[in-house]
Amino acid sequence: MAPAPSLPVHPPNGPTQAPADASAPPQQRSQKQMTKAERRELQEAQRAAKAAAKANAAPNGAGGQSKQPPKAAPPPLTAAARKPGKLADPVLKAPSTPGTGRQAHARGAPPVAESGPPNARGLRIFSHFGLPKPVSVAKGDIHPTILRLALQFSNFKITGANARCIATLNAFKTVIQEYVTPPNNTLSRHLMTHLNPQISHLVAARPMSVTMGNAIRQLKLEISRMDIDLPEQDAKDALCQKIDNYIRDRIIIADQVIEETATRKIKDGDVILTFARSSVVQKVILGAMEEGRQFSVIVVDSRPMLEGKRLLSVLSSAGIQCTYVLLPALGSVISEVSLVLLGAHSIHANGAVYSRAGTALAAMMAKRHSVPVIVCCETYKYSDTVQLDSFTKNELAPTTDNFSSFPLVKSRDALLIQNQINLEILNPLYDLTPPTSITAVVTEVGVIPPNSISSIPVALGRLL
């Protein structure tokens, strides 16, 4: 897998590539005469070829790895079978294009690798964004559940900070239950070395969410605390119980408390605006509906993911009066809004909220119009870091069919813009809402202003 040598520095790349490719040594000698650009071009071509080989091998690899998978087998196979089809197109083109493909440079396996050098230079500041990329051959002993989960992550079948965290923890429960401590080892010391490759496999599929990071840190802590003298099965059961408790306390019950608290802030006659889809916001709105409040909802949505549609269908089928607008229309509706409810991917120590791209725009617009902005966020989404902008850390949204939701007047191929040279599609997945444009954060410990979020771990006396 690519993550380890992912630094876009030249010297390390050469050696890693050399053993992989039989034809590498002679080319490497000639590299001295080449210009820098030519050398890079060559590397990219080699890498792309390698990735193509990897991708083609993926179904076999995944199938080979999963020894008699009980029920995990069909999904990986179908998902993996879809992969090569998706990939074939760009991968084949990659060697023929003269460009270098800066994304390929950043992370190794390129789904799209065509853009001219001048353009590529202009966008290089985004090269560190994690790319949705195909899951290649698993390194080491990866559990089939994890293989399956990694595919679901990389294909955006499971999205959302809560859903990903719960799915990861449940998968780890299976892994832990099927783990056998090797002789001359203890569970508390060895289990982590067994889990680490599983974690890095998941991270390779899609960068880890803050929630997963927090949950895994807690899990590691629990594993290291396990009594050495405990029988193996008891220790496993205890760990699974701990995981269940974590899910229950930090996510499920937290959501219930948030729902209760935030529902009280919804008054009769309110017009609530929300952006995209957050599971907690959905629960809050439905909760207020159950309590018989009279209000209407404006769902603001944005391409490319159009996640708000799902929220819209849930809310409107529950009988709530809804309006659906796209982000450019925000300015037209904001003056009617009395409350903005937002979800979060994570919340940082300075109170900045990291959430789906477009959230910051909605929050800032509301702030400008003096509409209260409420962010619903469990405390386990707290990240101890400070983030000041959404360039330092971000992901790219999956390159979906941008036009599937619109009536087509031209043929689809004519609209597929990513094939054009000198054109780079950039769809950041997240953005950062500054604390100044947030009125309040609703957490399970109460309603707090965003810049006081860092006092919660201190107040609760625990690691979040």
Binding site: K265, K267, P372, T439, V445, V447, S452, S455, A459, G461
Partner: protein, 345 residues
């Protein structure tokens, strides 16, 4: 049930009796009354006791139109009771211990104002001109304390409709502090002459904002616009776990406030014909016979019109420079951190 009813009745009476003391503010009166409720309660377990306290708090809340500061006191006491270590031999002993602690707290709490006055003194320069709003015990204490060592002069708003600014004026001039009453609508006019604004508070809420007599918010906005510091004084028992999102999210807000009356009734009132409620008509008539023309009566608000107005308003945290309290001089951010630490722990 009858005993329960009687104890509740006593509770309200005790509350009013406690309020008689000039030094006692509503949250302290609530704490004192609840600690008396503890001793008088027939509760046999902690759970019952806390339940009874909650019921008592409800009774007190219902008895007044503005329960915010009272609520802060009740909340503090109930949190204290639930967190109190159970070391006593019997439950009756624990109850009397709780009452002693409550009364001890109230006694100490009265001295908090001196502490705040001392803290505020450091921020008052010689020859300062101070704007204050309405009447506040803690602001009075701070001003009188500052007067001992520094020359200060004070503008005080009239604070309609209760006109408590006049009370401030009387007390300050009696103490020899130069003082002028200004109209509530003249705050922007006076602001450039002022060095800083000093207000008391009904409650300090979790956002770091302030709930105080109506008019505070607009004074804060004008102070912010003129780049003048806006200081609030608040004893720590006024810190309240409440997060108002807007003026209309306050517990004191009701549909009657800011409601529009149908034009016919208003017109009828203007022409002084008897469509208005019975208790209104005599008042208007009295004034119109006593004062010269009917014009003067129509140019002041009737009690009916005042009812449509709020008693308190909410000042946003970004308008407040500092809050002086007995736990220290805090920024609005620190208030919320303090509150999270106090109640979440």
């Amino acid at each position: 049930m009858a005993s329960g009813e009687s104890s509740k009745f006593n509770l309200h009476a005790t509350y009013l009796k406690n309020l008689q003391n000039h030094e006692i503010s509503p949250p302290l009166a609530a704490i004192l009354s609840l600690s008396e409720l503890v001793v008088n309660s027939g509760a046999g377990t902690m759970f019952e006791l806390v339940k009874e306290l909650h019921e008592g708090a409800e009774v007190l809340k219902k008895s007044t139109t503005n329960p915010i500061s009272l609520n802060a006191g009740c909340e503090l006491f109930i949190a204290f009771v639930t967190l109190f270590p159970h070391e006593s031999d019997s439950f009756a002993e624990l109850k009397s211990e709780l009452m002693r602690q409550g009364q001890k707290y109230a006694r100490e709490a009265i001295s908090y104002r001196d502490k705040i006055a001392e803290l505020t003194l450091g921020f008052i320069k010689d020859d300062s001109v101070i704007l204050t709003h309405s009447y506040s015990r803690v602001v009075m204490k701070a001003l009188l304390h500052a007067h001992k060592t520094k020359r200060i002069s004070v503008y005080v708003t009239e604070a309609r409709p209760r006109g408590l600014g006049i009370k401030t004026y009387e007390e300050l001039t009696a103490a020899g502090i130069p003082c002028t009453v200004v109209l509530d609508s003249a705050v922007a006019y006076v602001m450039d002459k002022v060095d800083f604004v000093l207000v008391g508070s009904e409650a300090v809420v979790e956002s770091g904002g302030l709930i105080n007599a109506v008019g505070s918010s607009q004074i804060a906005i004008i102070a912010k616009a003129s780049n003048k510091p806006f200081y609030a004084l608040a004893e720590s028992y006024k810190f309240h776990r409440l997060f108002p999102l807007s003026q209309y999210d306050l517990p004191t807000h009701n549909p009657n406030i800011l409601s529009f009356r149908s034009p016919q009734i208003t017109a009828a009132q203007g022409s002084a014909s008897g469509v208005s409620p019975d208790n209104q008509t005599p008042a208007i008539n009295d004034i119109s016979t006593f004062m010269t023309p009917a014009i003067s009566s129509s140019r002041t608000m009737s009690a009916d019109q005042i009812v449509c107005n709020p008693d308190v308003d909410y000042t946003r945290p970004n308008l407040i420079s500092l809050v002086f309290s007995d736990v220290g001089t805090l920024t609005p951010e620190a208030i919320s951190q303090y509150l999270v630490a106090m109640f979440a722990g």
